[in-house]
Subunit: 211 residues, 2 copies
DNA sequence: GGGAATATTCCC
DNA sequence: GGGAATATTCCC
């Protein structure tokens, strides 16, 4: 009943999209207004709408006339077939929860139409401007914040890079060692197999002779 | 290749287990020592071990001799086949992350053995005493550490850092995979040796009889 | 709609 | 191992 391709697809998407999603959002620091890697959720939702444009999926979900919002025409089919191909679930309410988290608004009480200023047809590049509503751990003393930002200078940045390179180097060394271990294992396997096969041969001849 | 029954099973489990899991933990308030509905993760992990007892799954994952901990004998098979039947993913590292969250300890560097005082064979009733480690709203918030966000760094430098982080991530993934390959190889070796030894025995007896 | 707990991912 | 971001679930 439920689409079976979930895991494969999710993993596929995960490996592609999540790479875009540098979690901390440090990338593209100097751009206006706060352009970041879009959240996976937004990319997937956008892509899912583009998929609809080519196929008959507009029956289930599509942009509205003006492309200023999107409409889920058939929540049941959308949940059962569309959601699991993009997400790790098939619950319409979880999808809506995410929409709310990213600040989408429900446009009409008569149909499932959702709108966000920065989520429009043809504007994939604006997705990076959409942010999650933060549940602030709220009042962290302002003085600590400002001083910490002053302290976070380029020296820590360089340091950071140093550490990354160091770690990188070590990882590569490790990789080589592991690879060698595997080669050894494989070689041993071959030997064992050869040994087994040879032993079988000799035993068989012995037995044949004795008969 | 990947088990297809993920969603159905997950949803099934979700509908059963998550009902038990009164999220806020308000249920059973007056019991000693803090008996709650066990977290879904713990129930699933426990059940997955019980499943092993009846089938040949002990080859992949099982309790240790004393039932005081459990061992993932074959991480590759465990990830590919077992995990997706209980969880919404097939990543060994995500599973381990959860174990750490609930305070499990890795027992040995030689095998994937995990232990928690309250997680033992035959003691499903103790699972309710296991709690997540809380991440206190920590005194030093994230932005104290995040250096790059507001700073003017040259775009090439930033780009460089991006690439390094990307490579780093991939290397770590590779490392885990290689480690798992090695485990598999070792397991195969054991099997071959056992096979060889058994074969030798039977052949010797055959020969002895013929003489 | 949104708060909050748990789950999954990513990074250090 | 663990901090922190995002995702999913559950509840009000």
């Amino acid at each position: 009943m439920v689409d079976n391709s979930v895991l494969e697809l999710n993993l596929g998407l995960g490996n592609n999209n999540n790479n875009n999603n540098v979690v901390g959002g440090h990338a593209h620091a100097g751009q206006s207004p706060r352009q970041r890697c879009p959240a996976p959720f937004l990319l997937k939702t956008y892509d899912l709408l583009e998929e609809g444009e080519s196929e008959d999926m507009t029956r289930i979900v599509s942009w509205n006339e003006e492309g200023s919002a999107f409409v889920v025409w058939s929540p049941a089919e959308f949940s059962e077939h569309t959601l699991p191909r993009y997400f790790k679930h098939n619950n319409f309410s979880s999808f809506i929860r995410q929409l709310n988290t990213y600040g989408f608004k429900k446009m009409s009480s008569k149909r499932w139409e959702f709108k966000h200023e920065k989520f429009q047809r043809g504007c994939r590049h604006m997705l990076g401007e959409i942010t999650r509503k933060k549940c602030e751990p709220s009042v962290f003393p302002a003085y600590l914040k400002s001083s910490s930002e002053e302290n976070a200078t380029s020296s820590t940045e360089e340091n950071n890079q140093q550490l990354l390179m160091e770690e990188n180097k070590n990882l590569k060394k490790e990789r080589l060692e592991l690879q060698m271990q595997i080669d050894e294992c494989k070689a041993l396997e071959m030997k064992l197999l050869a040994c087994l096969s040879q032993f079988m041969d000799t035993q068989q001849t012995k037995i044949r002779r004795l008969c």
